[in-house]
Symmetry: C2
Subunit: 345 residues, 2 copies
């Protein structure tokens, strides 16, 4: 039963014997075996995302190596944007050759009826993973939040300020809204397809949500995030909403209606839980650079976060952002071991 | 009298007829006349910093053009690191050829006795500016906070994570502390020299302070920031402490003891003032990208921030970070005009 996994129980705020833990970006470059699989197939990062056998293989590696309590499908938040009609490349950061700037560009965007057909490798990865895990760990599906997807689609690439999107937001709200409605509709179908394909929880990444001031978050992000969550088939499937930089506006982040709020490391977990109240679980929030530290230091930091939680239910231990590519794997293994040892009731 | 400037009165939390305003990085690339002066002299960005005539000229430009209520010396936070024995270059971001990594590197760092001799162009710029303004606007001096300076000195350049510094912090606290003590001692002399040379207020930039979790801010930043502020000749000279990303830990930022806390745009001004209490003035906090917006939008945003302040004394209007290099100057002029019109008592 999916509902018996500690990770899933913690998402629902139910008591668990031991705090569950996984790591954002746990399938990745810090593992030599990931790099081997990546090299084995040749091709690009995007080729790896589209190769169900290899994508499943790298999703399984951290579960075996780190002994984490949940798996996450290996993919990129931008893969579903390709079938909307945008040519995607990684150089190594993501680049769209034809960024969305005009009403014509927004009109031209496709919202595929059948996302399983649009990105057929995604359901295949999920099905392979469910079969491989056979109930061992729950499987997390994920997508980008509409705002974060819009950042890349309008800017055409990563950016410090995402000025092109900001100009659209401030200068032509109707155009911004039309774009966001299309992205939200796509995202909803995409994530529901993941649920239909076997995802047992969904994480929504709003990596750039913290770029906006709180009142702008309320106007330009929250309505679409809410609409997305309202449109998901959430029966039995917990939803995690992670807004990087959301610590100064958790009251607003909470309003999106997720079951779990992901926390970066810029706010103390205790303070965050006080703001969020006891109806919402939390996930976080170790500074990813702490995995550079000596093992004894890592253990102290794990203990500190557990102390801040003060025994409350509804905690999923994680990093406050993705694991860094040059972290020694033994430090990540140690962190997971510390959570399992120190987080036992 | 310095104490009669609206900017200075607001720093002390005293009533003013109209909310004062200036812009971080107001001397800069968004102004064609800045680019002209930069080009006129030939040479590098660092050459401009070291040329008192041209540095003074670009410091004056925004006062004339924007009609702001304060001037800030044109310089870079890293210029005083050169006489510590580190070769500095801008390519265009700052680069130190010999980053500080070992005990030997820290031992080799010089803390100049006489900062006026070590960076002779700095007192000359300040004296030229005081003479040029002749009481028209107050003159702000500035420096980097010890932590932010350490970020660059240890990493050797800008970075997303400043992993080299984090590794030193976590792995060898004694070395980190030795480095920070030296930087703090230099910084204190450097800023006191600016006060002696005519600076009428001091802003301390902790651009990377928000990289740390709150409990790490408390351990790795706050003691040195406090020591720096305690060592400044503060009689009649207000001190502003700006921690970018400090919104989730303003209670700690306040403990550094500045007269004014600078706010980025990630926290609502009203909430920040509630946390900080009425003994501390604030400076901020318009999202710099709002200067890309249509003029009517800019006006509404100025009004919103003034509304959040709710008539409290001790507000200096500013951006939440430096002005962006491609902002239309007329939008910056308009913003200042809006503050002066809408911020009148």
């Amino acid at each position: 039963m999916s509902s018996e996994y500690p990770f899933i129980k913690a998402c629902w705020g139910q008591p668990v014997d031991c705090v569950p833990v996984w790591l954002m970006r746990q399938a990745g470059r810090y593992l030599q075996c990931y790099k081997d699989v990546r090299a084995k197939g040749g091709g690009t990062f995007l080729d790896l995302c589209k190769d169900p056998a290899r994508a499943a293989e790298v999703s399984i590696q951290p579960v075996d190596i780190l002994k984490v309590d949940a798996a996450i499908m290996f993919s990129d938040i931008l893969t579903p944007i390709e079938p909307m009609g945008m040519a995607l490349d990684f150089v190594p950061g993501p680049v769209f050759a034809n960024p969305v700037r005009t009403a014509g560009d927004v009109d031209a965007l496709v919202v595929p009826e059948d996302m399983a057909q649009a990105v057929p490798y995604i359901p295949e990865i999920l099905q392979r993973l469910r079969a491989a895990f056979a109930g061992r760990v729950p499987l997390i599906g994920f997508g980008g939040a509409p705002f974060t997807l819009a950042c890349y689609m309008v800017e055409g690439k990563g950016s410090k300020d995402f000025a092109a999107l900001k100009k659209m937001m401030y200068g032509d709200f109707a155009l911004y809204d039309a774009l966001m409605q299309k992205i939200t509709a796509m995202d909803c179908r995409y994530l529901n397809m993941q649920i239909d394909s076997g995802a047992q929880a969904i994480q929504i990444f709003d990596t750039w949500g913290g770029l906006l001031a709180p009142h702008d978050f309320e106007r330009y992000i929250l309505p679409y995030a809410k609409k997305l969550m309202d449109g998901l088939k959430r029966q039995g499937i917990p939803v995690i909403y992670f807004v990087k930089g959301g610590g100064t506006m958790l009251d607003l982040v909470k309003q999106a209606g997720a079951d779990v709020v992901g926390l970066d490391w810029h706010i103390s977990l205790g303070k965050a839980r006080d703001i969020l109240g006891d109806k919402v679980a939390v996930q976080g929030n170790l500074d990813p650079t702490v995995l550079y530290a000596p093992k004894a230091y890592i253990e102290k930091e794990v203990q500190r976060i557990l102390d801040e939680n003060a025994g409350r239910d509804g905690l999923i231990f994680n990093l406050g952002h993705g694991i860094l590519p040059d972290v020694p794997p033994e430090n990540a293994i140690h962190m997971v071991e510390c959570v399992h040892r120190l987080g036992r009731k």
